[in-house]
Every structure is written in structure tokens, then in C-alpha cells.
């Protein structure tokens, strides 16, 4: 009964091709906005400039997402976005006379030289976190509260199955089912964002 069940939703990135698809763009911004913002902050930019970077990145994505989609073998969307975001953040940083928050302008170039592996694994990690966080919010609001708690206690907080069953007044079998059901749903929701690609 809630809008656009993710299972039937076209891949978010494909939908971005239609820049008038406000819902897709809102979702995209919810997931990627904080990531790009954080990346910019970590580059040493001030909040206002980091927000500016986010907007510029979105503009760049809107302008060129169809080109990316039309490539015969597109690389990962996230890597592509990361490249754009880094370039824009660094450009913004070096454009500032004092290089953002009291860091010398050279600092930005040092960071540019940092190994790509670190950057992209950090970005991947945060991306995954953002997606699962978002998914958790959706799931938590659509399952019974005990179902969610069974998952939360046993999988996140490390409570044993038996202890959780007792605490929640559920049978052990139902705790197994509940936690798996939540994880299944989280995975389904995250699928469209290709977290494990």
C-alpha cells in the first residue's frame, strides 16, 4: 500500500535519465547527497562550500547520466560519481584563496594524490551504510515492532537468539524467522542501489 514498491521499481539510476522524475531524484539525493557532502567536508571544505559541491555534482550527473548509461560497458555508477565529486570538490578547494577551513590550498592536491583504493573503499563503505540506513528506515516502519526488534537485538546488538526470544515473548523459531525476514527485506530494498556490486 505504500508508494512504488522497490521490487517493481526500475533501477534508480536509469530513472535519473528522466530529470523530471522528481521522486527518483529525491531518492537519489537522499542517498548520495550526504555521501558527496561528507566527501567534500573531508577534503577540507566548509559546510557552505560542501553544499555547493553537492549541487554541482548533481548538475553534472543530470547533464551526463545518459552518456554514462549509453556507454557499451559502463563502469560502476558509484565510481563514476566519485570521480565527478572528487574533481568538483578539489576544484572548489583550490579555487578558494585559502583552501577552505584554514587548510593550505596544497592540502587539496595532497589528498588528490592519495591512493584511489582508500578513497573508493571508504566511499563504498559509506555508500552501503547510507543505503542500508535508508532501507532500515523503510523496513522498520513496515514490519511489526517485534519483528524489527528480533532482528535488532540478535543481529545488531549481539543478543543471543534465546535471550531475545525470552525478552520479546516470542518463540525461538519465530525469532529466527523475524530476523531473516528483516534481512531479506533489507537486501531486497538495497538491491536497486547495487550495494554489493
Amino acid at each position: 500500500m505504500l508508494p512504488s514498491p522497490p521490487e517493481t521499481r526500475a533501477s534508480l539510476i536509469v530513472r535519473l535519465r528522466d530529470v523530471a522524475d522528481v521522486a527518483a531524484w529525491d531518492e537519489f539525493m537522499t542517498i548520495y547527497g550526504p555521501l558527496v557532502y561528507r566527501l567534500a567536508i573531508r577534503q577540507g571544505l566548509q559546510a557552505v562550500d560542501a553544499e555547493d559541491v553537492v549541487q554541482q555534482v548533481f548538475i553534472a550527473v543530470a547533464q551526463s547520466v545518459h552518456q554514462w548509461l549509453d556507454r557499451p560497458q559502463p563502469n560502476r555508477f558509484r565510481s563514476w560519481l566519485l570521480t565527478i565529486a572528487r574533481n568538483i570538490a578539489i576544484k572548489t578547494l583550490t579555487r578558494r584563496p585559502h583552501g577552505g577551513v584554514g587548510l593550505g590550498g596544497e592540502r587539496g592536491w595532497n589528498d588528490l594524490a592519495a591512493p584511489d583504493g582508500d578513497w573508493s573503499s571508504q566511499f563504498d563503505f559509506e555508500y552501503r551504510q547510507e543505503v542500508y540506513r535508508w532501507a532500515a528506515e523503510q523496513v522498520q516502519n513496515t514490519v511489526a515492532s517485534n519483528t524489527w526488534k528480533a532482528f535488532q537485538l540478535t543481529h545488531i546488538e549481539g543478543v543471543s537468539i534465546a535471550a531475545a526470544a525470552e525478552r520479546l515473548g516470542m518463540s525461538i523459531g519465530n525469532v529466527y524467522i523475524a530476523r531473516s525476514r528483516v534481512v531479506n527485506r533489507l537486501r531486497e530494498l538495497a538491491k536497486q542501489f547495487e550495494v554489493s556490486q
Binding site: G33, E51, S121
Partner: protein, 484 residues
């Protein structure tokens, strides 16, 4: 590969995973004992890596510190959640971003320029675009200019939609709809982007007023509700549904106490094929109708639900359906009955609550049939509140008389209410409306009008607050049973 167990096949386990929250019908005790079934159930839900990714992601959400080191030196102590919240809060436009959409300013005190308009400042932003206050240098008047968000400006479909919105909204001419002067296309310096020039309404939005003042006074609730209903009726008459009626889309013209509906950003004409598509916005679902939430077709009565939410917010200071997350709000919109207005704000008469609750009916059929009907009803209600001794409450809102009341005190109290309302009344009508009210003395009160008051016991509650001295004179007056 895990071998299967005779008790549950993979398919049966899958059913358990997909089943609803009522749980499986039979006993699941076997799962407590059988490690084989436990392992297969887990594996069917997600692979081992995903299980651990989920844990890592959500664990860090609760507590960022343990065990994880950011690869970069600076900002190690910075919580990603703090940044995330910051970004989500400020995901709207800042002036510096908005400035990038404009040509350089002609005066240093201006933000920039577009076409023949000097842009003064950013006054609002939303999913589709930004709104500036600007000055029309040719016609010498302030205007509001709406620009498409830059990520939309490059798209033909977005431009078309923008133009369609502009055309549709421009066709609606009513005192309570923000007039659209014209639609223009910027020159090359402005990247040729289309923009909308609207009348500038000084005074801010209803949302800002509610944020500032909390619940509004009875007369103001009725006046703004009535005017918003009239604006909607005019739009509906043009086949236009607003779809996003909420306090921030109602502007209050400060000079003349006039409410105007604005931002037909989501508005679609009723013959638009995409009408059934949900206008889902994660940020602000509070004023969505149940049929919008369900993704069903909507019609003019969906705007009445929005109007009900707006009136509820004016009565209580907050939207009827609140929750921590957007999804929970949406769920409440379809499933829950909002908390009683009178319980939250004792100054609100019970008959207003009945109007609002009817607007908030989950089923369109149970709401009023049109915005025009709501407009005329609220107009009568306002007249009644302003002149209770002369204008009766509309018949459909009357309830059976319950108890005799002490007539003269009531009449005085009624006049008091009329006086407070008279001050706010700005519809075209004889000046000195308040004077008319003052000449109504206790002697001239007719029995009918007093009976009228008797029928509205909850109003006593509001009188009690406003007229403490009256209460002191007659403790008996307030000695009535509370309403059911």
C-alpha cells in the same frame, strides 16, 4: 551446498521469509532445534557477506567509533551521521548556489539579474526550483521569480512540465490564488532557461506564521480556511488540482489579511495522463491525501484533504499526522485517525473539529463534495462567529440543545467574540462591522440566537478562556457536563 531437511523445503522456508507479520500458521518449533533449517533460512534471506554488511552498516549508525578508522587524517572524529543530518537539513538552496543561476547584478546590493529583473534575494526553494524576490525594472514593481532547478533546466520534459504548470496556473484568476504575470525565457547569459514571474506577496507563508505563533485564533482559522477553499475552488473550476496544499503553499498578504494559494509545482491538469502517479516527496509527506499515498487516482477532493490538514495545523499548531520518519507518516495518513483537535486546543469549538475531520475523511466520498461547498460553509461559520446573535451556525453543524444556559452572560460573551473577529475581518463589507456588533446589547438578543449558542457547548470552553471576568460573575454558567 547445504543439504535439505525433511521438515522444511527451500520453498517452504521462502514462504516463511515472505509471509506477513502474522507469522506462519503452523508451529515453527522445528526451527529452534534444526541448525540445518536455520542455516538455510539465513542463506535464503541474504548471503553471509550481506548479513555482515548489514550489521556493519547499522551498527555504525548507532555508534560510529568502534573499530573503524577513516583512511584520511582530518575529521576522524566527525560523526558521519552529523554530516548526513546536516546535509539533509540544508539540502535546500543557499543564496550562493542560487546566485549561480543568475547574470551578474547591476547594483551591488542585488543578488543578480535575469532578463529585465533585478534579483534581490532568495525567498524559497523546493524540489522543482527556486523562488527569488526581484524587481521588474520596466514596470517598476516587485515580483517573485520562479526558476527551474538547474538539474531540471536541461531537460525538455521538465521544461515542458514547467511551462504547463505556468500555463495552467496562469489561467486561474482569483483573489486567493497568487497571480502569474508571465512566463519568460532568459537570454543566453541566463542559459536560456525558462522562468515564471509572479506577483510578489509580502508577508510570508502560513507555515511561518504557525511556526511563530502556534495555533491561530478562531476567526483567523475560519478566514484563512475560507479563502484557501475559495482559491482551490477557482483552480478546480479550471480543471486544475493543486496536489500539494499545505501551510507553506499558502501565502499571507500582510497588508490586507488575504490568504493566497501558490506553488502549483505538483499541480497537473485533470486530463493529464500521469495524474495517477504519486507525487512522492520524502521531505514533506505530512499533507498528502490517503489516495496519493496509495498511488491511486486523485481528484479535486484530494485537495480537500490537504485543506483539512491545513486547518488542523492552524487549530493545533502542527500537522494531523506526525511521526519520526516519512514512511511512518504515510502509514498514519492511511491508517490513523488524528488526535481530537478540541483535546489539543480547548479554544476550538467542536463544530470546527467536525468540519476538519470531515475534510480528513480517508474516503473521498465521505469528504465535502467540492472546495466551493467548503468555502460557502466556512463563510457562514465566520459570519456566525463574528455575529453570533444575528447569524446562526449553519444548520448542518448544529446539534441538539443540551442544557439551558444563562442568557445575558452568553450574549455578552458572544459579542466579545464578535468584537475580536471584527478586527480581523477584511472581506469587502460595510466598514465598522465591529461597531455593529457593539450596539448589540443584551436586551436585543433574540431567543433563537441564544438557543444557537446553547447548541454549541464546546464554544463555552473558548469563551471561558477569553472572558474570565464573566466566569467569575456566574460560576453556574460553566457548570455543564463535558461533551461526550
Amino acid at each position: 551446498m547445504i543439504r535439505t531437511c525433511a521438515s522444511y523445503s527451500d520453498d517452504q522456508l521462502r514462504q516463511l521469509l515472505l509471509g506477513n507479520d502474522d507469522g506462519p500458521t503452523g508451529s515453527v518449533d522445528h526451527l529452534a532445534e534444526c541448525s540445518n533449517c536455520q542455516a538455510r533460512l539465513e542463506r535464503l534471506a541474504a548471503d553471509a557477506e550481506q548479513w555482515s554488511e548489514i550489521r556493519d552498516s547499522l551498527q555504525l549508525e548507532r555508534d560510529f567509533e568502534p573499530g573503524f578508522e577513516l583512511p584520511l587524517e582530518n575529521n576522524r572524529s566527525r560523526s558521519p551521521n552529523k554530516d548526513r543530518d546536516h546535509w539533509l537539513r540544508h539540502a535546500t538552496w543557499t543564496e550562493s548556489m542560487a546566485k549561480s543561476l543568475l547574470s551578474p547584478a547591476s547594483h551591488p546590493e542585488m543578488l543578480g539579474r535575469i532578463g529585465r529583473y533585478d534579483v534581490e534575494r532568495l525567498i524559497g526553494s523546493g524540489g522543482m526550483g527556486v523562488v527569488f524576490k526581484a524587481y521588474d525594472t520596466e514596470l517598476n514593481r516587485p515580483v517573485a521569480i520562479k526558476l527551474l532547478a538547474p538539474y531540471l533546466a536541461g531537460s525538455g520534459s521538465a521544461r515542458n512540465r514547467f511551462a504547463r504548470e505556468a500555463r495552467a496556473a496562469a489561467a486561474v484568476v482569483d483573489d486567493h490564488v497568487v497571480p502569474i504575470h508571465n512566463v519568460e525565457t532568459g537570454n543566453e547569459q541566463d542559459n536560456g532557461q525558462p522562468f515564471l514571474v509572479m506577483k510578489f506577496i509580502p508577508g510570508g507563508s502560513l507555515q511561518q506564521r504557525i511556526d511563530r505563533e502556534g495555533p491561530l485564533e478562531l476567526c483567523e482559522i475560519l478566514r484563512i480556511g475560507m479563502q484557501a477553499a475559495k482559491g482551490l475552488a477557482a483552480a478546480h473550476a479550471q480543471g486544475l488540482i493543486h496536489r500539494d496544499v499545505k501551510p507553506s503553499n499558502i501565502l499571507l498578504d500582510e497588508g490586507v489579511d488575504r490568504a493566497l494559494i501558490t506553488d502549483f509545482g505538483l499541480a497537473r491538469t485533470t486530463d493529464d495522463a500521469s495524474l495517477t502517479r504519486s507525487g512522492f516527496h520524502p521531505g514533506t509527506p505530512h499533507y498528502m491525501s490517503p489516495e496519493q499515498v496509495r498511488g491511486e487516482a486523485i481528484d479535486a477532493r484530494s485537495d480537500l484533504f490537504g485543506l483539512g490538514c491545513v486547518m488542523y495545523a492552524m487549530c493545533t499548531g502542527h500537522p494531523p499526522f506526525r511521526s519520526e520518519t516519512s514512511y511512518a507518516v504515510l502509514r498514519r495518513i492511511t491508517d490513523d485517525t488524528p488526535r481530537s483537535i478540541c483535546e489539543t486546543n480547548a479554544l476550538i469549538p467542536e463544530w470546527i473539529e467536525r468540519i476538519v475531520m470531515k475534510l480528513l475523511a480517508k474516503s473521498r466520498e465521505a469528504r465535502y463534495s467540492s472546495a466551493f461547498e467548503v468555502y460557502t460553509l466556512l463563510e457562514k461559520c465566520l459570519a456566525h462567529v463574528q455575529q453570533p446573535t444575528i447569524v446562526p451556525l449553519p444548520v448542518e453543524l448544529q446539534q441538539k440543545p443540551q442544557r439551558r444556559l444563562w442568557l445575558p452572560v452568553l450574549a455578552i460573551a458572544s459579542i466579545g467574540i464578535a468584537l475580536t473577529c471584527g478586527v480581523w475581518w477584511t472581506q469587502p463589507r460595510p466598514v465598522g462591522n465591529a461597531d455593529t456588533a457593539t450596539v448589540v446589547s443584551t436586551e436585543t438578543v433574540s431567543t433563537e440566537s441564544v438557543l444557537q449558542w446553547e447548541s454549541d457547548l464546546p464554544e463555552m470552553e473558548s469563551l471561558r478562556r477569553d472572558f474570565v471576568p464573566v466566569e467569575k460573575k456566574s460560576t453556574k454558567l460553566w457548570d455543564i457536563e463535558p461533551k461526550q
